[in-house]
Symmetry: C2
Subunit: 230 residues, 2 copies
DNA sequence: TGGGCATGAATGGTCTGAGGACTTGCGGGA
DNA sequence: TCCCGCAAGTCCTCAGACCATTCATGCCCA
């Protein structure tokens, strides 16, 4: 096997076998090189690979450690690659977000955490008052993020956040011909979601969230130069 | 900025800016080192990072290329990290799978691709006839995979496959006290899903799929040495 | 003329050695 | 007791050399 792959497999197995749990420290690089029978260059490339995936962390001057192996953190690493996916692929990802956020929004409506509705209303007030694209982006993320945090587990929250972040790179909300219409539709969508949560109506919440994101999908699809059916 | 991070940012920007699209070839390593102002070691570590994320590919003797940037392929790369997540985190991931597969199964029932029901029935026949853990694992993946492929987009299919693969590492189906009961319950769950698809009943399909995976969650939770609430 | 094959340039993969940069814990001094 | 400096430990970066693989060129032979 190639040297880097050998090192990669060796490091993974140290974790998979349970020899090194979350937060554990690896031996120093020279020692690992001996154990795995590869040079430092190859070892370091393997370490970088796993670090990119959020599985291990290197701390300059301190050592190399197994990460917390928290699924939400690992999923967050995905943003590095997801942000490079072209529009075609983003539309596929939005189906994931739509389904997951509909679920999370319904759960949030059912659970009705104390103060959630008030926090959401406050966010929407600010959101409706601004026309700055970056600020819209930010407040929209806060709104949906708060709902996911209240309704779903951290993994779902992280996954939807990654996809939301990617979609946001396409500036739907740049001032232009349709800006006012789009902004108003978006604002109404948010209010519908909040109303469903306030009324503790999970089914309505799921529908409202699903419709809201489906609308985003339509806007993004319109940005595509050559919108092919499917 | 640190050398490797500089190289990483540079490579990412080449893709993000559109200068290099899917499948495009990077300049040779020495040339990239010049452009980015880093040594070959640092450049190679950056390349490895992006390769681990499925964003670029190095081909020995040929060159370094931008990957297809296909979301399904990129998500598949996650299995490398997801497989190291401890049981605690797997339970969170299963909520994602449950929601997504319920959606995909409902879609499959609604679309009713030609021959889908027959293919699924054939898989279930083989699944019910075996007691080999590895074969059960394999056929279960085939069954759910076929449904996802028929009902959802490739991204959803890839994401559920990654999570399914991780869960499978916990051997629920090892011969033991509860083996027969678990196997029978699982088989019944599969038949319920197939029935809903055959009857073109999306709501029933979603419910059946959700219940089936929720059952898996319960079994996995039972494996946890110290089952804490929440 | 066409196909198979040797060959060499291009390119990524690996190893070695050296020095720099950062973190951390220890011990001395105020 | 607290602060500071110091030194050991560790990862980070660079440079150079050589190996392994790919691929296109062009030759040779049928």
């Amino acid at each position: 096997m190639a040297a880097t792959d050998t090192a990669l497999a060796g490091l993974r197995q140290m974790i998979a076998s349970g020899a090194l749990g979350p937060g554990a420290k690896f031996p120093p690089e020279p020692e690992l090189c001996d154990q795995l029978g590869v040079s430092r260059s190859s070892l370091r490339e393997a370490v970088r690979s796993l670090a990119a995936l959020g599985v291990i962390e290197s701390r300059h001057g301190s050592g190399t450690y197994v990460s917390a192996l928290d699924p939400a953190e690992i999923i967050s690493r995905f943003s590095l690659s997801v942000e490079l996916i072209p529009l075609e692929g983003v539309l596929e990802l939005l189906e994931v977000r739509r389904v997951l956020e509909a679920h999370a929004t319904a759960s949030a409506a059912a659970r009705q955490d104390a103060g959630l509705a008030d926090r959401l209303a406050e966010i929407l007030d600010r959101l409706e008052a601004t026309t700055d694209a970056a600020e819209i982006q930010q407040l929209d993320a806060e709104f949906h993020g708060a709902i996911c945090a209240a309704g779903a587990n951290p993994t779902v929250t992280a996954l939807t956040a990654v996809i939301r972040g990617r979609g946001g790179h396409y500036r739907i909300f740049e001032p232009g011909v349709d800006f006012d219409a789009i902004k108003q539709t978006s604002d109404r969508g948010h209010r519908a979601i909040l109303a469903a949560i306030t009324h503790r109506d999970p089914a309505a919440a799921a529908t409202a969230a699903s419709a809201h994101i489906a609308q985003t999908e339509l806007w993004l699809r319109a940005l595509r130069p050559d919108p092919q059916p499917n």
